[in-house]
């Protein structure tokens, strides 16, 4: 979604302020980021005495809950790189949850994933017909698809699932993926985690969560992340698709079939959201479709995409953040989620040092004030009220959007209506 549509002057915000002297390669930034995050979490865990912050259980939940968000985010990348805003991801995800439960009942988990993708793709196709062919406002069509997706899903659930589960809101449980653990690595990491040594146990916990009880869903998702990168950035088709999102008229003049590429992108986007829905169904225990299961994860996926500056790697980071916030509240209590405030204080402190070093006095000041305010909040309360617990990812999304929406560059023609032959 375009974040820079506030009118005149906004284009200035999206331009880099000055040519940077040297840029680190992406993998180095990624490594530094991982080390920084693990460091902050380990420090927080040590200082607040909340080992659950870095336990392997938390990490497993992060993966389970982050995967649907990541898949929705990938769907967002496909659509928006071709210039199509897809607010309908949520509705497509809902369709995917139903499709996955239905497919899973008939043919096991692999069929569930495929069927989820198919149902999501149908939602995507509807969005494509409305927006590409008929030129409807992308956001309006997306909102309508969210309404429709929910209605159709409820209707189908009553029709198909209620006779089986005696409950209009749930499906019967479906077969889950067999999970596997990388042994003996997993056991060794568990031992290390249980020793509760500073930093080492934290790293062991986080790694352990990644290699124990791994679901094929995670593998599928990683393949889809890599695949998205390769197709969109390393293939001729992807270049054409992205050119439709940057300047469709120029693409058209070079002979690119803009309608075709937009259709493929939006249908693919729906399919990915549908797989995200399937991941939700397969990741819940027992694995069932249940009404309201997506809980705005389609939208959070969009936020992850914006956080990740419309790139697969960045979206992965965003989805991990939101998945972690969600996973933490499941594996630990309100006091542990409360400790995240402490982690925020440490992060803000690091930011202050970094900004001072770069001689950005004003930003450093703001960060320092922020750190003090958050610390006061942390000090004044013992735990997050339980009523807010389910909404931790939403609060974090809001904070992240507020802090991150600066140096981003959305596709130039994102959300701009396009009709063949009408360019000037």
């Amino acid at each position: 979604m375009s974040t820079a549509d506030t009118g005149p002057g906004s284009s200035v915000m999206t331009m880099p302020a000055a040519p940077r002297r040297r840029t680190l390669p992406a993998w180095a930034i990624f490594l530094i980021g991982v080390v920084a995050v693990v460091g902050v979490l380990a420090t927080t865990s040590y200082l607040t005495g909340k080992p659950a912050l870095t336990s392997s259980l938390t990490m497993q939940n992060t993966v389970t809950l982050g995967v649907p968000i990541l898949l929705a985010g990938l769907g967002g990348i496909w659509a928006e790189r071709s210039g199509m805003i897809n607010i309908g991801l949520e509705g497509m995800m809902v369709l995917g949850t139903w499709g996955a439960a239905w497919g899973g009942l008939h043919g096991g988990p692999w069929v569930a994933v495929l069927s989820g993708a198919l149902f999501g793709a149908l939602g995507g196709l509807l969005h494509a017909i409305a927006t590409v062919t008929f030129g409807v406002n992308h956001i309006v069509s997306g909102v309508a698809i969210n309404l429709l997706g929910m209605g159709v899903t409820k209707y189908l659930a009553v029709l198909i699932f209620e006779p089986l589960s005696q409950n209009p809101r749930d499906s019967p449980p479906i077969e889950q993926f067999e999970t596997f653990s990388a042994q003996p690595l997993g056991d060794w990491l568990t031992d290390l985690e249980n020793e509760q040594r500073v930093v080492i146990s934290d790293v062991a916990g986080l790694l352990g969560g990644l290699v124990t009880r791994v679901s094929p869903m995670l593998i599928i998702t990683i393949l889809l992340v890599v695949g998205t990168y390769l197709v969109l950035w390393r293939s001729r088709f992807g270049l054409r698709l992205r050119s439709c999102g940057e300047n469709p008229v120029a693409a058209e003049s070079l002979g690119v079939n803009v309608y075709f590429h937009k259709y493929v992108a939006v249908v693919m986007s729906g399919a990915l959201a549908g797989i995200g829905g399937a991941a939700l169904v397969l990741g819940s225990s027992p694995s069932i479709y249940s009404e309201g299961q997506t809980a705005n994860r389609g939208f959070i996926g969009l936020a992850a995409m914006i956080f990740g500056n419309w790139t697969p790697g960045g979206t992965l980071a965003g989805a991990t953040l939101f998945g972690y916030a969600d996973g933490l509240r499941l594996s630990a209590g309100p006091e542990t989620v409360h400790a995240l405030l402490y982690a925020a204080v440490i992060s803000a402190g690091l930011l202050v040092i970094w900004q001072l070093w770069r001689r950005k006095w004003r930003t450093a000041m703001l960060a320092a004030v922020g750190a003090v305010v958050v610390y006061a909040l942390y000090y004044a309360s013992d735990e997050l009220p339980t009523q807010f617990l389910p909404y931790t990812p939403h609060i974090i999304t809001l904070v992240v959007l507020a802090l991150a929406a600066q140096r981003l560059r959305p596709p130039a023609a994102n959300g701009v209506p396009y009709r063949r032959g009408e360019g000037d």
Partner: protein, 365 residues
């Protein structure tokens, strides 16, 4: 003028017909008779309090749709109505129960408080939009979720909640703060605040058509660059329109709370906000269109019970609502293109008679 009226009415008619057809097919596929279902839905209106319920719901939907329409006028999509009306209702119920005021003044103050609370809940997305460029759709969706959490927190029994029977609610609003309705005996009671919806719709219509603010709002929506060139402060308009939208949204819960429940309860109705967005699209942001859209929506909503009674899944009404919204936006687009093509042909003919044909070829784009 008649041509304009025709093209305005054509799109919703097409959309409703298309959606009805779609639902009829869905019903046939599930083994039910669509004609029977429609008969039951219409017959249901005459029973008991259903007709009055529909009128009451229409008013509530109108308020929600007007809130959405204010945003739409300048291409702002305020998805946050859902959260804004919840916070508005909750704060109004808490403040209203604590105040001691003479009758009419009491509920007027409650209405103002509800509006302010709704506007306040829209303030953060507005600020984020103009200072940080955060898209209002994302921020308001997150605010909706947080509103649910905040409402659940504030209604805790150690905060403002009390136990009534086996339901938690806020302290009841005293008699002076309640808005009397029109008692129709067995037929039910029409909420007094039904007239609030009519007043808000009228004010909205006048402001949009007759005032400078309305003009600037529409201008910013249709062409931000032209509006900016004309001296309209785009950022100010974003903040003002989101706040006004939030203020109207804050009123959405009031007919029920001041007319029937007299308190915010744990099972306070949800979903009006999303319905309002659909209705605003259906009624094309026009107050009269919104009124009819709300009526249709309320009719579909209330017919769900009747459908249940004859064994048709009630969700067919939800599908109908969703497909109406999607087909209406498509239909508007098609009608717009048809009008445009007709206009181009007309201009082409007019020019063609005045000038040689080869000069007309240039406007083929």
């Amino acid at each position: 003028m008649t041509a304009k009226l025709r093209s305005t009415l054509l799109a919703p008619t097409l959309a409703i017909a298309f959606s009805a057809l779609l639902c009829a097919l869905a019903l046939l596929a599930s083994g039910a008779n669509p004609a029977d279902a429609l008969g039951v839905m219409i017959g249901h209106v005459g029973k008991g309090q259903v007709a009055v319920d529909i009128v009451n719901s229409t008013a509530i939907y109108m308020l929600a749709a007007l809130a959405a329409a204010i945003g739409f006028q300048m291409n702002l999509l305020n998805i946050g109505i859902e959260g804004q009306y919840r916070i508005g209702a909750l704060v109004a119920a808490i403040v209203g129960s604590a105040l001691v005021l003479p009758p009419v003044l009491h509920w007027l103050v409650i209405l103002v408080v509800a509006s302010l609370a709704g506007a306040l809940w829209a303030l953060l997305p507005a600020i984020l939009k103009v200072t940080r460029g955060v898209h209002e759709v994302l921020s308001t969706i997150m605010m909706n979720a947080i509103a649910f959490g905040l409402a659940a927190y504030l209604i805790r029994r150690d905060m403002f909640g009390i136990l009534v029977g086996n339901n938690v609610s806020t302290e009841p609003i005293p008699d002076s703060g309640r808005v009397p309705g029109i008692d129709l005996g067995d037929r039910g009671t029409v909420f007094g605040l039904v007239f609030l919806a009519v007043v808000v719709a009228a004010v909205y219509g006048i402001v949009m058509k007759r005032t400078r603010f309305g003009f600037e709002l529409k201008a910013s929506g249709e062409s931000p660059t032209a509006a900016a060139a004309g001296g309209v402060n785009a950022k100010k308009m974003v903040v003002v329109s989101l706040l006004v939208s939030g203020a109207v949204a804050g009123l959405v819960g009031m007919p029920e709370i001041l007319g029937r429940d007299h308190a915010y309860t744990l099972n306070f109705a949800a979903g009006y906000g999303f319905a309002g967005i659909g209705i605003a699209l259906l009624g094309r942001n026009h107050p009269v269109g919104i009124a009819f859209g709300s009526l249709l929506w309320a009719f579909l909503e209330k017919s769900k019970v009747a459908l249940d009674n004859v064994g048709v899944p009630r969700e067919i009404a939800t599908i109908m609502q969703g497909s109406i919204v999607l087909s209406v936006v498509v239909a508007y687009e098609i009608v717009k293109r048809m009008d445009l093509a007709a206009e181009q042909r007309r201009v082409g003919r007019a020019l063609g008679t005045a000038k040689p044909a080869e000069q007309v070829g240039g406007d083929g784009k």
